[in-house]
């Protein structure tokens, strides 16, 4: 029973365009949401987060949107760059644990 779903296993976007990565969850008790980025042969690195009391958080080219009623969050990357090519995981917090989604592989091509 997956609590966190990233329904797009992969996404291909042209450099300079917007990348939108989506994440759906089932547990309404999640109160803090993180996004991680993972390059091959490296561990995941923290990218951006949002608290459930907000609906938007922005950090440079990265913006995360939270729709609590729909139990949906999305990560927007504008403009996308080739160095953004990686696997992205959303990870809601459950007490002291994170519940990771299955990931979306983003490829940004020139």
């Amino acid at each position: 029973d997956q609590q966190v779903k990233q329904n797009s296993p992969s996404l291909s976007v042209q450099e300079g365009r917007i990348s939108i990565l989506n994440c759906d969850y089932t547990n309404s008790m999640f109160d803090y949401f993180l996004w991680y980025k993972k390059y091959p042969a490296e561990g995941p690195t923290f990218l951006i987060s949002i608290s459930s009391i907000k609906d938007k958080n922005e950090d440079g080219r990265f913006t995360v949107f939270l729709n609590k009623s729909a139990k949906h969050l999305s990560l927007h990357i504008v403009p996308s760059q080739p160095g953004d090519s990686a696997v992205y995981f959303c990870a809601p917090r459950d007490t002291d644990k994170l519940i990771f989604g299955t990931g979306t592989r983003l490829q940004v091509f020139p």
Binding site: A41, G43, P44, F89, D96, F100
Partner: protein
């Protein structure tokens, strides 16, 4: 900078062997975690620890055990390795408290033959 170090990047073991994966963090973090990453399944939590000598089961603890004798070190043990434990293993650590950003090591790719 937080540093989480996993002792091996690649390991090849035989079925039935006892396997130790070691993880050390240098930021005095209370919490430590072991995950495995498999294609299409994301990161799945095996075990975690809030403090020295404490451990909690994650979502897939079967076939694994852990040890935390010192705050900075968290070991994952495969008592009798099996081929279905071939995977990428990731260790992470975090401070206790409300934000829980976890910092990951580079991972150990384990192949069990």
């Amino acid at each position: 900078d937080v540093k989480v170090t996993q002792s091996s990047r690649y390991l090849v073991k035989r079925t039935g062997e006892k396997v130790f994966l070691e993880c050390v963090q240098d930021m005095d973090h209370e919490n430590m975690f072991w995950y495995r990453q498999d294609p299409g399944l994301g990161l799945r939590l095996i075990y975690f620890s809030y403090d020295v000598k404490m451990k909690e089961k994650g979502d897939i603890p079967e076939g694994y055990s852990v040890s935390r004798e010192k705050k900075e070190r968290f070991s994952l043990i495969l008592e009798s390795a099996s081929t279905n434990q071939t995977s990428m293993y990731l260790c992470a650590s975090s401070l206790g408290g409300s934000r829980n950003i976890q910092y990951f090591g580079a991972g150990t790719r384990l192949s069990v033959l």
